[in-house]
């Protein structure tokens, strides 16, 4: 079997090829070779006690927010190992750490039992780790070969171009992927570009391949081809880490899985031991202390405030529509929850409802008290508060006034009346319990929960009739989450109609009057909150 992969698989890490790895790891590798009897040949190698990849106690936090909490897992060689979890569970952070792109705050990493230094892409590469990012890292106007050379070259020119060509050739043969080396990458279809990425990663490493959400951009046929390729790689002794939040795919492709939830490994082991329902439950988790919709709350009534009739939305004429035939209505005194796996059209739906974009077909009617000519007051709690709701370098006061700064008590003759600003924001800070030292402090100095409270205070204080909230509790701790949900319930009790597009199924079910499920851009079903998370989870995944 030609090529770098088979050779390094047989010899183990720290061979004469690894000029770039640290002295420390060379010594470790040497010790390892002396102390443990390195088995030669395939069968023996497959049965060694050492896992292909071992992580121990990996922690990583970004400013007070803990992204990974004591992650420990082992991946056996020659398997396809799925890393499952919701958005924000820490999957990508973990992969970035394995690939050396990020340095963990603490924890150790071993490859074939050899500790390797973390936080170094070179060290990871020299130990055979290659990563294919969700968003490809390709130079579009360069040829396929140039892209691969670019990644493989340690210096300006690859020292042994012929060997690289042989490598590419052998991998292409093994995977049965004909590759036009001279075609500019930009002219290839997405599926082909991914192949280039995979070959690139294989030539760079060849032992552990990380695929970050590889199927997100692929058509079903391309997914099948990819699955076959991954399987053949695993048969050849490679270890593949397959990141996904699509359960059915993972079940088809992976032999073992680890499930991450809020930065913790909640399950690690064979996938065959778990049913789809159990996996979904572990991914979503069940939390206890979430505010619930009380039965005594006022019933839904009145004419609809928002109606979407047969709405289609597409980006670009040649692409398939992102949203298809959406029909929904929201009435006063109700919360309409929209569940779905991320990336099924939620952000586009939010943009449509908020009025940022117009539908390609169909119509959107917003009525204030049944009257279509009166503009309705809309409160919008966007998914990304840093990009769409806050100006971080500005004071808390300014952020609280971003909606009303030009209205009557706050401005006169084109000038801001800062006195009224201060009074208004002092009130809001007290009312919504925003923890800040002074209201003149920049919003950037506040914690995520308090930043979200600024958004809530601003959007809810002007008594909106219609509220659109997208993942309003993402990244918040338990108390802030409860606060946000309680505020939404209070707004509902005041008579607002609320659309809640939310990834957290449990929270969604606990406060929604009705739940609709979005899948591949279509609202597939409207289930009532009596439905269990498992049933809705099945709808989210496209099952009937």
């Amino acid at each position: 079997m030609p090529g770098a992969a088979s050779r390094s698989l047989l010899i183990g890490p720290g061979t004469d090829d690894d000029q770039s790895c640290s002295t420390e790891s060379i010594i470790y590798a040497g010790l390892h070779r002396l102390t443990s009897a390195v088995p030669r040949g395939w069968g023996a190698w497959m049965t060694t006690a050492h896992p292909a990849l071992g992580l121990t106690g990996i922690c990583k936090s970004f400013g007070g927010v803990c992204a990974l909490d004591d992650v420990t897992l082992e991946v056996q060689a020659g398997t396809v190992h799925g890393i499952l979890g919701e958005n924000g569970a820490g999957k990508t952070t973990l992969m970035n750490i394995i690939a050396g792109l990020m340095r963990p705050d603490s924890g150790r990493m071993e490859i074939m039992g050899v500790p390797i230094s973390t936080g170094s892409v070179r060290a990871a590469r020299s130990h055979g780790i290659g990563m294919v990012h969700q968003h490809f890292k390709l130079v579009e106007n360069q040829s396929v070969l140039e892209n691969i050379v670019l990644a493989a070259g340690k210096s300006l020119l690859p020292r042994r171009p012929r060997k690289l060509l042989q490598d590419i050739d052998s991998w292409c043969r093994k995977l049965n992927w004909p590759l036009e080396l001279d075609a500019p990458v930009g002219t290839l279809a997405v599926g082909r570009q991914q192949r280039v990425e995979i070959i690139k990663a294989l030539c760079g490493g060849g032992k552990i391949l990380i695929l970050d959400e590889p199927t997100a951009a692929l058509t079903p046929a391309e997914v099948d081809e990819l699955a076959a390729a991954v399987a053949s790689l695993a048969r050849a002794g490679m270890t593949v880490l397959f990141i996904s939040h699509k359960l059915l795919e993972a079940r088809r492709i992976c032999q073992s899985i680890s499930i991450l939830r809020r930065g913790k490994v909640v399950y690690s082991g064979s996938i065959a031991d778990l049913s789809v329902e159990e996996i979904a439950e572990k991914m979503v988790g069940v939390k206890m202390d979430v505010p619930r919709l009380t039965p005594s709350a006022r019933p839904t009534q009145g004419p609809p405030m928002l109606e979407l009739v047969d709405v289609d939305y597409r980006i670009g004429k040649r692409r398939p529509p992102v949203l298809k035939q959406i029909n929904l209505t929201v009435r006063p005194y109700e919360i309409l929850g929209i569940a779905g796996v991320d990336g099924n059209g939620q952000s586009e739906l939010a943009a449509l409802i908020s009025g940022a974009v117009n539908p390609t077909a169909g119509r959107i009617v917003r009525r204030s008290g049944g009257n279509a000519s009166v503009p309705i007051r809309v409160g919008y709690i966007p998914e990304d508060r840093h990009k769409e709701a806050l100006v971080l370098p500005l004071a808390v006061t300014s952020n609280l006034l971003l909606r009303q700064y030009r209205q009557s008590p706050f401005a006169r003759w084109g000038f801001c009346r800062y006195g009224t600003w201060r009074k208004h924001s002092t009130d809001l800070v007290r009312q919504y319990d925003i923890r800040c030292r002074r209201i003149e402090d920049a919003a950037a100095t506040l914690s995520g929960g308090n930043q979200q409270k600024i958004v809530l205070a601003r959007e809810l204080s002007q008594q909106p009739e219609l509220i659109l909230a997208v993942n309003p509790t993402r990244g918040l701790d338990i108390s802030a989450t409860a606060f946000v949900l309680r505020q939404l319930l209070e707004a509902r009790a005041r008579g607002a109609g609320i659309i809640l597009i939310h990834g957290d199924l449990d929270e969604l079910l606990s406060i929604s009057d009705r739940v609709a499920v979005i899948n591949s851009g279509a609202l597939t079903a409207t289930a009532w909150p009596q439905a269990t998370p498992v049933e809705i989870g099945r709808l989210m995944l496209g099952g009937a």
């Binding site: 970004f62 400013g63 927010v65 992204a67 958005n87 924000g88 569970a89 820490g90 999957k91 990508t92 952070t93 969700q134 959400e213 997100a216 951009a217 991320d342 990336g343 939620q346 952000s347 908020s354 940022a356 919008y380 966007p382 990304d384 840093h386 990009k387 769409e388 709701a389 806050l390 100006v391 971080l392 370098p393 500005l394 300014s398 971003l402 909606r403 700064y405 030009r406 401005a411 084109g414 000038f415 801001c416 800062y418 950037a444 995520g448 930043q451 993402r474 990244g475």
Partner: protein
């Protein structure tokens, strides 16, 4: 009232103090370096100071030199604050001067100074503003970054000015690219006779204060700031983002154009294509003034004094080359940029810490 005003001005004061500190340190170092080179340091400092502010005349020429710097500095400062990276003040300055020279030597309205001078100043401002709008148009509708188009348009403006000065605006009896001298009655009137104190200086100061008020106190200024800091939020808040960017670009270009017109009518009185690098220097002035119009007043005065003093030193028996002043300016800018870069990196790191967990984005 007292506390509110000074509370508002507090951060500006800190910025000014910091800038003054940097300037002082660099100046002291420069004089030390000159001493090492064999120039008598005390005499040097004395000559420099007296050259810059030793007499009414020296003072006035320092201020007159600071005046175009103040206007181009405002042009850069106003634009940068709103996230419009206009580095084309040089071109806008030249076009402003060109328009002013055309209006005072070729199209004099009724030959009345009371009409010609305001028209020339206004015309210069409008020309600079429109030149800026070209770049903003290219960014908005043709996706050409303003940074690129403004810097390229500087060259277009330069050659346009040269063509005009060798064509319709050329002075009689010369082959050089040079306009005729403006008639004395169209010069900007002086408010202190026999000095360089022309009313353009007052105009520039008033404009700076006005811009400060607009920036700090008005709805327009607030919107411009939000647009500059976070266009996404501005759009979500239904602010007129595009309109504000165009307006800011026009104001910025108009400041630079007015600077050109004032320099022409108040100081040099005839135009060549080489009117000094006031446009580029304005960026430095704005950075030193921390993009605050009041800070820019101080930093432009500082640059003016430095320059004028350096010319006097060069003319004196010491004959220290005037480029020493440019070295000092460059050093100060460098230090300020490093300081700004440090604080920026710090805030960005904080920002990344806050945003990073949300990066696991949907496909």
């Amino acid at each position: 009232m007292f506390k509110r005003f000074f509370g508002n001005i507090w951060s500006a004061a800190i910025a000014v103090a910091l800038a003054a500190l940097v300037c002082g340190v660099v100046l002291a170092l420069a004089i030390g370096a000159a001493a090492l080179l064999g120039y008598p340091p005390i005499r040097l400092a004395d000559l420099w100071l007296r050259g810059a502010a030793g007499s009414w005349y020296a003072l006035s020429s320092s201020c007159a030199d600071a005046c175009p710097l103040l206007l181009t500095g405002l042009a850069a400062g106003v634009a940068f604050r709103a996230g419009v990276l206009n580095i084309g003040a040089q071109g806008q300055f030249l076009l402003g001067a060109l328009t002013a020279v055309a209006l005072t030597t070729r199209m004099m309205i009724f030959h009345q100074p009371a009409l010609v001078i305001p028209t020339a100043l206004l015309g210069g401002a409008v020309a600079g503003g429109l030149w800026g709008l070209v770049a903003q148009y290219l960014e908005r509708y043709r996706s050409v970054p303003v940074v690129l188009s403004t810097i390229l348009l500087n060259f277009v403006a330069l050659y346009l000015a040269q063509a005009a000065l060798q064509g319709p605006l050329q002075a009689l009896g010369t082959a050089a690219a040079q306009s005729p001298e403006i008639a004395g009655k169209y010069w900007l009137p002086l408010f202190v006779p026999y000095t360089d104190f022309h009313i353009g200086i007052i105009l520039a100061l008033v404009l700076a204060v006005l811009l400060w008020v607009v920036q700090q106190r008005s709805i327009f200024g607030f919107e411009a700031r939000v647009v500059g800091l976070n266009p996404g939020t501005a759009r979500a808040m239904k602010m007129p983002v595009t309109a504000r960017q165009f307006q800011i670009m026009f104001i910025s270009g108009a400041c630079a154009g007015l600077g050109g017109a004032i320099q022409l009518l108040g100081q040099v009185h005839f135009m060549t294509a080489h009117m000094g690098n006031y446009g580029y220097a304005g960026i430095a002035v704005a950075l030193l003034g921390r993009l605050n119009p009041l800070g820019i007043i101080i930093s432009s005065l500082f640059f003016g004094f430095l320059d004028t003093g350096a010319y006097r030193v060069e003319e004196s028996s010491l004959a220290l080359p005037h480029n020493m002043a440019n070295v000092i300016k460059a050093l100060i800018i460098l230090v300020m940029l490093v300081l700004a870069g440090l604080s920026l990196r710090k805030s960005r790191r904080a920002d990344r810490r806050v945003t990073a967990p949300a990066q696991e984005s949907a496909p």
